[in-house]
């Protein structure tokens, strides 16, 4: 067998389509960099697209495995899809699924599947360091949390409060349903004695909140989640920008980072994709990271996928490399990445809004450095878990 077939799934339909497109840009860069060959074998890349729903992701995965007969799938993009593919991977023999960008904690934390690998960090990890920064450096003793009411924000809030409450911070939680576009009554509920707003919202929801908050003349400092300050928000003009400048957040990626690896990655990206974003998105970064991990493991086993991919999966589990942010990546026992997380701040970079790294937490594990059992005993992140007294 001289061909290695790699299938991929991202979202090119529906609301997440821009992120999905960007993911394929950097994947293509990764394959082009090795000229579609690894260990002398040709890589055949078959792309599929879902609409960010688990059912469709699963249907696509089945097609890739059963009809196109791929050896490896890279994907998917969103959390619920990730869990669905993890379950599916368990039913497969001799095939491997490597995550694309999905970030639900449970995909690897609880009931992991032996042939599902994730080289990107996830939602809880991404908040490492932010709680501490908010309490110690910003002096915020009470934050108003404005977050979307579903699993990914739960994970992020969990990561934040894990540190923040320990230090003595108080949190007033204001949950909004996913896709809320009118935040006016939520804004009215922000307590007058709050020191900052912790905004765990993505894309449109974040844009809506910030614009409406600006509209009533709101002026608390904003602390963002990992996908709050994404390109859609940064590149959109408008009144929300007034609030965004100086907003701090944490995550695996920052637009401005002095690391030479990153500078080169961004330069390549801009050259290869003049129509792309100003700087690769978080999805592009995650897909790229996962892809290079696959390529590296393939290289190590000389493209040998025999014996139900035993050698390959073994290699994957032990791969260690540097991601484009210049951070070291390795896997834990559940095949989940341990890597560095950055504190970021939004700056006005010559008329363009960008995120800039100003702090770094190294080797963040999925259990935030805790013992796995103790961490699991904290319970799944949810609306009410954790809670720091005295909220409200």
């Amino acid at each position: 067998q001289d061909v290695i077939r790699i299938g991929s799934i991202t979202t090119l339909e529906g609301p997440f389509a821009t992120g999905g497109q960007d993911a394929y840009r950097t994947m293509e860069m990764a394959f082009e960099a090795v000229d579609y060959t690894v260990a002398g074998k040709t890589i055949e890349w078959i792309r599929e697209s879902s609409d960010a729903t688990p059912d469709v992701a699963l249907a696509r995965a089945r097609k890739l495995i059963e009809q196109d007969n791929v050896d490896i799938i890279i994907g998917p993009l969103s959390g619920a899809e990730g869990i669905a593919l993890r379950d599916y991977s368990r039913t497969l023999e001799g095939r491997t699924i490597v995550n694309g960008s999905s970030g639900a904690a449970d995909t690897t934390l609880r009931d992991p599947s032996p042939n599902f690998f994730r080289f990107n960090t996830e939602g809880t990890q991404w908040m490492a360091g932010l709680g501490t920064h908010a309490y110690n450096d910003m002096g915020a003793e009470h934050v108003a949390l404005v977050a979307a009411d579903y699993a990914f924000p739960y994970a992020q809030v969990f990561g934040f409060m894990h540190e923040y409450c320990e230090l003595g911070g108080a949190v007033t939680k204001l949950w909004s349903p996913l896709n809320t576009t009118d935040f006016s009554s939520i804004i009215a509920q922000i307590p007058s004695d709050a020191d900052a707003v912790l905004l765990i919202q993505g894309g449109t929801d974040a844009l809506a909140f910030l614009t409406q908050y600006a509209e009533v003349g709101g002026d608390l400092p904003i602390i963002g989640g990992s996908i709050t300050a994404d390109q859609t928000l940064l590149s959109a003009r408008g009144p929300h920008q007034r609030l965004m400048e100086g907003m701090v957040a944490a995550g695996p990626i920052a637009d401005l980072n002095d690391d030479p690896e990153w500078l080169e990655f961004v330069a390549n990206y801009r050259e290869r994709w003049p129509d792309g974003f100003d700087s690769p998105s978080i999805h592009a970064f995650n897909y790229y990271t996962n892809t290079i991990a696959v390529l590296q493991a393939l290289e190590e086993v000389g493209g040998d996928l025999s014996d139900n991919q035993a050698a390959f999966q073994e290699a994957l589990a032990n791969v260690e490399f540097t991601n484009p942010m210049g951070a070291n990546v390795r896997l834990d026992d559940n095949r989940q990445a341990i890597s560095d997380i950055f504190l970021t701040r939004i700056v006005n970079d010559g008329g363009t809004m960008r995120t800039e790294a100003f702090g770094r937490t190294e080797d963040v594990s999925q259990t935030m450095g805790m013992d796995t059992e103790a961490f699991i005993a904290l319970g799944s992140p949810s609306r009410d878990n954790p809670d720091c007294p005295p909220a409200r």
């Binding site: 389509a17 204001l174 009118d182 614009t211 408008g238």
Partner: protein, 296 residues
């Protein structure tokens, strides 16, 4: 809970209702007058916003920026009105009376439109910026700082409502279209040029979707998926209020707007569902909606 808070949330509900009314009125008009369930209403809303934005964006960056928003409104309305006429003349007119088939055609169209918008404009969210005059807070007695634009929405909604009411109840056009719903052939036998009337109504209803698109995308960010949202809102508002009744649409919008805002306060988790609960309750008691005519 302070009085100020109660007033604020209530005002929020009313101003949101104004937006819902503007968007739903076009749907209600087309449904009420032609019995066409325009499942592409959300798509038309989106077209209005996207076309408006395509015009807005370059102008906003130019010296004419203060007119950008008004021009966007005009562009959005015009583009969608034309699209509406095309829909009626090419696809729907000749199957008038086949309500289900029409609904299906509009579903097909909305799928295509939404996908083509994604192809041509990309999926990034955007938002219009109202002229400075309409942006920022003003003092409202009992409430405190309040965004002007939301108050402006209310004014606009009232204007649209009054205009529509006059059109429907005080003009011969209104009589014609209502008669056309009941019996198109008989209306033609009364000497009325039915296709022309139908195209006019569709243009008008679509234009309202276009207006709603620009206003809506000024109040809230615009992104893909919004079509389904506003289609649903239109459906619920119109079902609750009573189909084909302007007053009913207004009442429905107010109920839903208030429910959404107060729902966010009392049970944030289930606030989205509250609207559907209201709808089910209304239907169980009055299947024709609060102000609808009894369905024979």
């Amino acid at each position: 809970m302070s009085l100020q808070f109660i007033l604020t949330v209530t005002l929020n509900g009313l101003t949101l209702a104004a937006l819902y009314f503007i968007v739903a009125s076009g749907f209600s008009l087309i449904f009420g007058l032609m019995r066409t369930v325009n499942m592409a209403h959300g798509a038309l809303y989106m077209v209005g916003a996207y076309i408006g934005f395509a015009v807005f964006d370059p102008i906003y960056g130019s010296a004419w920026y203060s007119y950008a928003w008004l021009i966007a409104i005009v562009a959005g309305i015009a583009a969608v009105a034309i699209l509406g006429v095309v829909m009626q003349v090419v696809f729907l007119g000749w199957m008038q009376g086949q309500e289900l088939r029409q609904a299906l055609v509009t579903i097909g169209l909305s799928i295509i439109i939404a996908d083509q918008l994604l192809a041509n404009f990309g999926g990034s969210p955007f938002q219009f910026f109202a002229p400075d005059m309409l942006f920022g807070p003003v003092q409202v007695p009992g409430v405190g700082r309040y965004p002007v634009f939301r108050l402006f929405q209310v004014g606009l909604a009232v204007a649209v409502g009054v205009g529509l009411w006059l059109l429907l109840n005080k003009t011969r056009l209104g009589i014609m279209v209502r008669a056309g719903v009941d019996d198109r052939q008989m209306l033609a036998a009364c000497g009325v040029n039915v296709p022309l009337v139908a195209a006019t109504v569709f243009a008008l209803g679509a234009a309202l979707a276009g207006l709603g698109g620009v206003i809506g995308a000024t109040a809230q960010p615009m992104a893909l998926g919004v079509d389904a949202r506003f289609l649903l809102i239109s459906l619920v508002v119109v079902i609750v209020g009573g189909m084909g009744s302007i007053g009913g649409t207004a009442l429905g919008a107010i109920l839903i707007g208030l429910a959404e805002q107060w729902g966010q306060v009392f049970f944030p988790t289930y606030s989205v569902i509250l609207t559907f609960v209201i709808m089910a309750a209304v239907l169980a008691i009055r299947p024709q909606g609060l102000m609808g005519r009894k369905i024979a």
